[in-house]
């Protein structure tokens, strides 16, 4: 069953499209990483799914309903980010009590244990917490609420490395106990790669890739060699990324569907293909300019 179904969904502000005809679906009980650069449209997409924002065009269905103003979607979904606001006068322990009242699947034991593990004080106020502590507290709510659709939008903002790793581990362990559909957005694919089953790569408001993490690992190879020779070799290949260092050397990322004959040709040239990790691939596929930041400093 598809928990989320988007058909040509667009969201625009005036003339600027934050999302441009996005089509994909998310299966039940999977962990999907929403990966993309700053401003790619990750948050916009997640807020549309949560029903916080209204899409401009297309069809969006969450639990088979339009999420905007849907009580069913709200009851089965939780959206966690670092912007969550609670009433000022509510100490942390009452926030947890309130969350327990709202969510039928709330796991109070888990909440209490995580709360103690991350050494929160029950009478602290959310507003007085540091950035990382706020994020940590919010993720406790996200995990303990055990919603059928759990959305983490950059959940680790401000967390130190140890807490980030703890959170990832907690997420995975709780997912095994209580499988659900989890969407987690992040810039750091390499950090969350081991959690994910699928990756949805978004670039400038469009879906660039939607693949399983295994498929992503095999998706592309990297080759480095003499510029003239290599570009000659690659003219019939699907080039995903190219970079020349200005000194006759060329680096190419090509789709991993090179024929045997072509591969032998490459090896004959003395070039050994390297593997491209999912994190590297996502980075290469979302480069703004082919030459990268160096182009900015290059004289015309």
């Amino acid at each position: 069953m598809n928990i989320v179904q988007c058909n040509a969904v667009s969201k625009s502000y005036g003339n600027v499209a934050a999302l441009d005809e996005v089509t994909f679906s998310i299966k039940q009980d999977t962990i999907t990483g929403i990966i993309g650069r700053n401003g790619a449209g990750k948050t916009t997409l997640l807020k549309l799914i949560a029903g916080y924002w209204k899409h401009s065009k297309g069809d969006i269905h969450v639990f088979s309903e339009n999420p905007f103003n849907s009580l069913t979607v709200s009851a089965n979904m939780i959206y966690i980010d670092d912007q969550m606001t609670f009433p000022d006068a509510m100490p942390l322990h009452s926030i947890l009590t309130e969350a327990a009242r709202f969510y039928p699947n709330w796991d109070a034991k888990l909440a209490k244990r995580l709360f103690d593990y991350f050494s929160f004080h029950p009478n602290q106020f959310h507003d007085h917490l540091s950035k990382g502590k706020k994020s940590t507290f919010n993720t406790i709510i996200g995990l303990a609420s055990r919603c059928a659709l759990t959305i983490f939008d950059e959940p680790t903002t401000g967390m130190d490395e140890a807490v980030r790793n703890d959170f990832y581990r907690a997420l995975l362990r709780d997912y095994i106990v209580a499988p659900r559909t989890i969407l987690i957005s992040s810039h750091h694919l390499n950090e969350i790669e081991h959690l994910l089953e699928d990756v949805l790569l978004i670039d400038r408001g469009r879906v660039k890739l939607h693949l399983s993490i295994d498929a992503l690992q095999q998706y592309a190879i990297g080759v480095t060699g003499n510029q003239a020779v290599l570009s000659q070799w690659a003219n019939d290949q699907e080039i995903l990324f190219s970079k020349d260092d200005g000194e006759n050397s060329l680096f190419l990322v090509v789709r991993n569907n090179v024929s045997k004959e072509k591969m032998d040709q490459l090896l004959g040239l003395g070039i050994k293909p390297t593997s491209i990790s999912p994190a590297e691939l996502c980075l290469y596929m979302t480069q703004l300019k082919k030459g990268g930041i160096d182009d900015v400093f290059r004289d015309a």
């Binding site: 916080y52 209204k54 969550m84 309130e98």
Partner: protein, 247 residues
């Protein structure tokens, strides 16, 4: 994992309790405002004194109108705050849609109107006590003679007036949420109207005064005021129901 199918009324109840617990500081503000209003009221609104054969009688009239006015203003401001971004976002932390959040807001505003009105009425007694104990002379306190049913009607009327002010605040707040420009336009228009009314015959104010305040029939007054408050809330619902949260 099973999907929860929530009942609208349950969610409204939960949201109401969430607000009730989370927004306690509003009541602290109310206590402070009413205390200030009582201090203002201590001077009385009218007095006369006369003496004969060595006995001096001075008569002062006290009223809790100030307290009531402050309470209405308080309800007005609370209502505006509830429509603001931060408060609407707090609604969306847990289960809600725009409709349930607004129903919970109305329930919350009604509750605070009841609390505000009752405390405002009771502040009269506090006022008497203060004047009684703060005077060195022999003091008699005489209350305006009212029939018990008039007390009940007075109570209901006070609650409804406070609630009406909260409805006005809620509508103005909703209009500002629709477009922030109204945050500048509305106060300017308000002040301009005040100046205009100061210069001309005050037809609108007179009409409002006649239509609401001078209505002789309690039932009619109740219907008029209740209807106005409801209309304001429905208009606000319409405006806020399309607003996106957490931008």
């Amino acid at each position: 994992m099973s999907f929860a199918t929530p009942k609208l009324i349950d969610i409204v109840k939960k949201q109401f309790l969430f607000k009730w617990k989370g927004y306690r500081p509003f009541f602290t503000n109310l206590v402070i405002l009413q205390a200030i209003a009582i201090i203002f009221s201590l001077g009385g609104i009218g007095s006369s004194s006369h003496g004969r054969e060595g006995v001096n009688v001075s008569e002062s009239i006290y009223s809790a109108d100030f307290v009531l006015a402050f309470t209405m203003l308080w309800a007005f401001i609370v209502a505006i705050l509830l429509t603001s971004k931060a408060y609407r976002e707090a609604d969306f932390v847990f289960i809600t849609n725009r409709f349930t959040a607004q129903l919970a807001n109305v329930a919350f505003l009604f509750t605070i109107s009841v609390i505000g009105a009752i405390t405002a009425i009771l502040s009269r007694n506090l006022l008497w006590m203060i004047t009684y104990f703060s005077s060195d002379n022999i003091t008699f306190v005489k209350e305006a003679a009212l029939h018990p049913s008039e007390y009940v009607m007075g109570g209901i009327a006070t609650i409804l007036y406070v609630f009406l002010f909260s409805a006005v605040g809620y509508l103005l707040g909703s209009i500002v949420q629709m477009n922030k420009m109204f945050a500048f336009i509305l106060p300017v228009v308000f002040i301009a109207l005040l100046i205009l009314f100061g210069m001309q015959e005050q037809y609108l104010l007179l009409w409002l005064h006649e239509f609401y305040y001078q209505e002789d029939s309690f039932i009619w007054w109740f219907v008029k005021t209740g209807f106005t408050a409801t209309a304001f809330f429905i208009a606000s619902f319409y405006l806020l129901n399309r607003q996106e949260v957490s931008k």
